[in-house]
């Protein structure tokens, strides 16, 4: 019995201790006036981490009226610089951020961005600061699909300012960037294919350190993902022109925000921008484009032939494998074209051609075998018919013999 009483006392003490620990949260009086903020705050990442109003705003949580604001530590930042510094007071603190695995250099990075430069060097209060992209009370984790900074929401978040004609006019910036991006192949991959690794605004421009890449840096930015193409481009005659600032690496041919899936048609549009009066260079273009187009068409034709044979019931395992090999060659060719070097393109094109011809020849053999099998049916059917006739004749003969 005494042992049971001891357990009851222990439990009571434990509950009291919990109540005392939780007391500050229970005593928060801010919500009496700030119901709207409360609704936004509850699902936020900060609420999940156990932060309260006072962690950002200070004030007196025991006061039940406006005197709650009348403390020395009350903070309600009235300018964007103060907002950035307030956020950084926690997000720049390694000890505080370590448990969450978050970086602590956001403010430093922000100061290197165009946004940060405008704010900290020119006190421009119209530029984006932490809360403009992440929200205020409703900040969600980046991984949350509802977060303003989730990959599929990034274009809309950036577009709130960069699509605002009045605001952008002051900075002489275009306002159709987001519209262009949404028509791009990158956006197609993000929104239609659900590939969250495909680039959005921040992939190329950075997030906290958001800065438009310089003319010479665009290639580096593209090269972060398109590594092979950039390596090959460096071997092309255009590389020298790019180093001299005469040619904007990837952008000159592919464009930037509205980038489309590259195809042979690009040659017709892009090369003439610089080489319209240069027939020698246009001949190189025609050779390279022709080589790739032929390889692509031959491969495409082989795919159709093999598919048709498979649908007819022919065993095309080996031909499928050859198609895969042809596809590898054609895809390599598409990357290799960045060198514009016929001596590198030609062997791959020849190999692709050989594989495609081998595929078609093999399918032809399969079709030949199928044809022979069909033809072989005719003598079999004739034989069977003759046999049937013989049986019938024999039966008649036997019937006649049996007649008395």
């Amino acid at each position: 019995m005494p042992q049971r009483r001891f357990h009851v006392i222990s439990l009571t003490l434990a509950l009291l201790a919990t109540a005392v620990t939780a007391a500050p949260a229970a005593e928060i009086t801010c919500l009496k006036c700030h119901e709207k903020e409360q609704a936004l705050y509850i699902p936020s990442a900060h609420a999940q981490a156990g932060l309260t109003c006072m962690d950002c705003h200070g004030g007196d949580p025991k006061a039940t009226d406006m005197t709650a604001h009348a403390t020395d530590n009350f903070k309600r930042p009235d300018n964007k610089k103060a907002i950035a510094e307030l956020c950084a007071s926690c997000h720049g603190d390694v000890r505080r951020m370590n448990p969450y695995g978050l970086p602590t250099d956001q403010l430093d990075r922000y100061k290197t961005s165009k946004h940060g430069e405008q704010l900290f060097e020119h006190n421009d209060q119209k530029v984006a600061v932490c809360i403009d992209c992440h929200g205020v009370h409703d900040i969600l984790k980046v991984k949350s699909p509802q977060a303003r900074v989730y990959p599929t929401n990034i274009p809309q978040t950036c577009g709130r300012c960069h699509g605002d004609a009045k605001l952008m006019q002051e900075y002489k910036l275009p306002t159709d960037i987001v519209t262009q991006y949404k028509s791009s192949y990158h956006a197609y991959m993000v929104f239609e294919k659900g590939d969250l690794s495909a680039p959005t605004c921040v992939t190329c421009h950075g997030s906290h350190g958001a800065t438009p890449p310089g003319t010479k840096e665009v290639g580096e930015v593209c090269g972060k993902c398109h590594v092979r193409q950039r390596e090959l481009f460096a071997k092309s005659p255009h590389a020298e022109a790019a180093s001299a600032g005469l040619f904007n690496e990837c952008v000159s041919c592919h464009g930037n925000h509205g980038i489309q899936k590259a195809s042979v048609e690009l040659y017709a549009k892009s090369c003439v921008q610089c080489h319209a009066k240069d027939p020698k260079q246009l001949q190189v273009r025609d050779k390279v484009a022709g080589l790739i187009e032929r390889a692509q068409n031959d491969y495409s034709n082989a795919v159709t032939v093999v598919h048709a044979a498979t649908v007819r019931g022919l065993a095309t395992d080996d031909e499928q494998l050859l198609l895969q090999e042809a596809k590898t060659q054609v895809t390599q060719l598409e990357a290799l074209q960045h060198t514009l070097a016929m001596d590198q393109l030609q062997p791959v094109a020849v190999h692709a051609d050989e594989v495609v011809h081998q595929t078609l020849a093999d399918v032809g053999k399969l079709e030949q075998v199928e044809l022979w099998k069909r033809r072989a049916l005719t003598p079999i059917w004739v034989f069977l018919a003759v046999m049937a006739c013989l049986f019938w004749a024999k039966r008649r003969q036997v019937a006649r013999e049996d007649q008395p």
Partner: protein, 145 residues
């Protein structure tokens, strides 16, 4: 029929004719059925393929074998044999082996996969699918999935 024991000539020919007709019908039907029955619904004819003798593989040596029309890369690691789909998860090129990095490499866009099939560099978004490998009586057998 005499004494109900011997089969008459007429009856014998009737039986023969009947049997002949059945064979005749079967001769017509068999090729028709073989065409109607779709070959692809039978699935790949081979479920496991041999990649060769185990002792023919040096350490880190690789070989590409075909299973049901799909290339599979077989690697001998110090811990044993591993096999992965040899189709790059980026744009479907056939991958190869980079001996200097000990990684599976895609020749098209410089994608690299580690020895567990995980993408470690370049654009491939997904790991390579792994195939089961068994060494039976000194022969390396790769399973289709």
């Amino acid at each position: 029929m005499k004494d109900g024991q011997k089969i008459s000539r007429r009856s014998f020919l009737d039986w023969l004719l009947g049997g002949g007709l059945i064979l005749w019908g079967a001769g017509f039907l068999a090729p028709v059925l073989s065409y109607v029955w779709p070959a692809q619904s039978r699935g790949p004819s081979v479920q496991t393929v041999s990649a060769g003798k185990a002792d023919e593989f040096a350490e880190w040596q690789t070989k590409i074998v075909a299973i049901g029309g799909h290339p599979v890369i077989v690697v001998r690691t110090p811990q044993g044999f591993r096999a992965f789909s040899a189709i790059c998860t980026h744009l479907g090129c056939i991958v190869g082996w980079d001996a200097s990095r000990h990684q599976i490499a895609c020749p098209c866009h410089a994608g690299f996969f580690d020895i567990n099939g995980r993408p470690v560099a370049g654009p491939p978004p997904q790991p390579l699918a792994e195939h089961g490998v068994a060494v039976v009586n000194g022969e390396v057998l790769v399973k289709s999935a």
